[in-house]
């Protein structure tokens, strides 16, 4: 027996969902969705669970991650109940559920909290720089060390426990019996989905989107690799330098396209933007662009007289690494890949 919780809907609307209560359960959304299948029918079921506030069912569901937001459901919804945006909001909500720190939820729901966090990080970076008398090489060195620590730290302290929680919600809590071998067999899927978001191809008219994502992931991981492991800003290798340029250009061009789409609001996916969406794409653009300019300034010998430029880059980087990656939209990329992985493991 399940009890209804009408307050859940109010909570969910803080994650961006709206008008989903208008649903009269005709099932059009499920029927027009190209990714929906007999085994996994959505989004109506998610819509229904959200209206009734069946949190436990939602927590253990992978369906929000199976959706790639082509927007057909929203376009054809006869009641304007916006199932596409509901699925997006559910993903945001799920991230806050998986996150043991509770910060995800706070940052999603509260723009002031997010702003405060951003300012705090900027302040710490500036304070540190001030404490070392704005010695560029020391700052750059610390910056590089910070990157390494941040990656390892964020992953082991926040993301890994969250992934374990996700596993618990999806497989352990509902007591789904899974042979261990499945975990191994499904590993390939994890990698494929992480890089390609292959399923998005099933969405109508979306081949360009899949390509954009693929290039962006390549660019992003490339930038991470070049800056952290090849130490791009300090490297003398022409190969590394050129590669850094290329990947950073990829990152900021692709993200600029995203920004443009969100401003234009033409497609369903980019019609409704939450602060977290804006933060993600703006910071990613800014990161690619600032890294690009920093290296350009290094190569043209201008950086010494424009230390502020690196500081800006470092602030963006720190904010990115400490807020957006562990708690923000970046995690979609991670959880979605793991969702596909768990989905494979279960089936």
């Amino acid at each position: 027996m399940t009890a209804i919780n009408t307050d859940f809907g109010k909570d969910l609307s803080k994650y961006g969902a709206f008008d989903f209560n208008a649903c009269y359960n005709c099932g059009t959304c499920t029927a027009v969705c190209t990714l929906s299948t007999e085994e996994d029918s959505f989004p109506r079921e998610m819509q229904r669970f959200s209206v009734l506030g069946l949190e436990d069912d939602l927590k253990g569901s992978l369906k929000p991650w199976l959706c790639y937001y082509c927007g057909q459901c929203t376009t054809y919804c006869p009641q304007n109940a916006n199932p596409g945006e509901l699925m997006m909001s559910l993903r945001r909500w799920l991230i806050s559920v998986y996150d043991w720190t509770g910060l995800s939820g706070l940052l999603y729901k509260s723009l002031p909290a997010t702003t405060a966090g951003m300012i705090l990080i900027a302040a710490v970076v500036l304070f540190y720089s001030f404490s070392v008398d704005f010695d560029l090489s020391r700052i750059m060195h610390t910056g590089h060390t910070f990157e390494i620590i941040a990656i390892v730290g964020v992953f082991s302290i926040i993301l890994l426990p969250n992934l374990i929680r996700m596993w618990w919600f999806i497989i352990l809590k509902p007591r789904i019996q899974v042979p261990v071998i499945n975990y191994l067999k499904a590993l390939w899927d994890l990698i494929v989905h992480m890089f390609t978001q292959k399923r998005a191809l099933g969405c109508d008219d979306n081949e360009l989107r899949w390509f954009e994502h693929f290039i962006l992931v390549l660019g992003y991981l490339g930038l991470l690799f070049t800056t952290v492991f090849l130490n791009w800003f300090s490297s003398d290798s022409v190969f590394v330098i050129v590669m850094g340029y290329i990947v950073s250009i990829i990152v900021f061009t692709v993200t600029l396209i995203f920004v443009y789409d969100r401003i234009r609001k033409k497609d369903e996916i980019s019609k409704y933007s939450q602060p977290s969406d804006w933060l993600f794409i703006i910071w990613l653009t800014a990161m690619g662009l600032s890294a690009f300019i920093v290296r350009l300034f290094i190569d043209t010998g201008l950086l010494e007289n424009n230390k502020w430029l690196y500081l800006v880059h470092l602030i963006i980087l720190a904010q990115w690494a400490l807020i957006i990656v562990p708690f923000g939209k970046w995690t979609h990329f991670l959880y979605r890949s793991f969702a596909m992985y768990f989905h494979r493991v279960i089936s």
Binding site: M1, T2, A3, I4, T6, G9, D19, N21, A22, C23, Y24, N25, E45, R48, F49, V51, L52, L54, Q79
Partner: protein, 643 residues
Amino acid sequence: MKKKLGVYICHCGGNISDYIDVEKVRAAIENEEGVFLAKTTMFACSDATQKEMVQDIETNDLDGLVVASCSPKLHLITFRAVTERAQLNKYNYVHANIREQGSWAHSDDKEGATEKAVQLVKAAVAKVRLSKSLEPIKIPSKKAVVIIGAGIAGMRAAIELAHMGCPVTLIERDHFTGGRVAQWDILFTSDQTGREIVSRLYNEINNSKNITLLTGAEVISNKGSIGNFRLQVKIKPRYIKDHFDDDKLKKVIAVCPVEVPDEYNFNVTNRKAIYQNPGQYPKYPVIDIKNCTRCGECEKVCDNIDFSLKEEVIEVEAGSILVATGFDPYIPQDGEFGYNEIDNVITLPQFKRLIDLCHNDLLFNGKAIKSIAYIYCVGSRQSEGENKYCSRYCCTSAIHTSIQVKKNFKNVKNFHFTRGIRTYGKQELLYYESQKDGDIYLQSYEENPLMVSTENGKICVKINDILTGNREISVEPDLVVLVTGIVPRSDTSISQIFKLPGGRDRFFNEIHPKLRPVETVIDGITIAGTCQGPKNVTESLNSGLSAATKSFSLVNKGELELEPIIAEIDKNKCTWCGECEKACPFDAIRMVKQGDKDVAAINNSVCKGCGMCLPVCPVNAINLISYSDKEIESMIDSLAGKG
């Protein structure tokens, strides 16, 4: 005996000809005695065929017409009109029903059906051979209409008739007008309140010269018929001499020691033995004599009270009667979804009164109500019970009420337990508004009804929600509202007095839902509003106004034409035994002197042509026109194939 008959056999576009070989029928009867021409036609009722018939009758000087087609209920009048246009008396037309009682009834046996059709047409021919020209009996029709029931349909019809210049007597059994609508607060679609509408209508009625309003009045019998109904109306006194002002009323109510459940509020509150609710008209209190203890307290504070007033019976005459007696809200049985067994389970009408009475907070039995479960289709669409029908207004009414609740009171949650919402037409927008506003809708099927129970002192409503994959979902509401449907009035006195037939659903039956939706089989009586079937306010008004038009056309000309099919006495045979007088239910037979002999005589305008006097005559001196021994027996001859 006629010699020039025309016979038409209709294909009915296949309805007949798919099963009956109409050509064969035609061939079989074309040589019958007296048949001058026999034709088949695709649609006998079509304009072209009708024109053809007129032409055939005129050019060939036919003296009788038979059409074999569908049931005479549909087209007898049509073809009688054809003969009239061809200057042939309409009683020289005989109808043969070869569709409902031919092709359709025997679609499993084409040969048998064809054979039967031949016999039926032969019988019709036999009858028309003997038919006589008849002239309708003209009777005066009193230009006045009686409307029974001063609910919204009756009141509105009265006003319209008054506008048309027709005197109306509006008879209301209750002491106040307005019926159910007077009890409702804000209504869909214009957001006016029921009381506003009723007060407006009441004022119009009050100011109209043409309308006589009788409240506390009950029709107890009827002595007349179409054109001249004579109703005996019993008027109960209010035991109040003159109108008095609000202050006095307050005083009197204050001193009255009696408290009884207030039916105006569907018993959610009590009232005194002297009462008048603020929204009720006429603004004229009444003493409920059944519950009054005659303690005399009221008389002490008010001199307008007069217990010596007596019931009176008056006679009202009218040419036509419009019945708009309304409905009863369904009262759930004890234990039906916890009704009368679990506290805080009430019906929708009760709830509507409750929210009207609550001002700042929604309280029931002193407790604040924050969540409400509405259970739909209570008393309607029953798979087990006798109310198979949908009550039509309740989905919209419940949703509209739930929206009002949310508007008027803060933080109330609505849960709707439905069997599929039926907000037809523009009402759909209310359903949308309610959902968008966060109301929760759940649905189950009749096979799997929901359960209302109490657990730890809280009400619990459980449903297997088909919208959530048949999962059992529960809500613990503060109040359960049973969305009860419309049932026919339990008081059947009107249907007994006028012999108004009901349908399977026990509501009054119209003659035909499409052709004649407000007329009844009783000539001169129209029906309007919810006594005919569930309706919302607008629909009741439409039917009330329609009925007003129909009743108006019956009395407007001051004269009516009646069927001349009445009993006929063969005065030579009659020996006056008085049996026929006893048998006649209409008082239409009297003894008269014929020379030196006593014989029976028929009062033509009263005789209804039932024929009850026929079989009781020991000397077979009575025949019914058009159903004489000759006619019936020659039909039997033809049907038996020995004509």
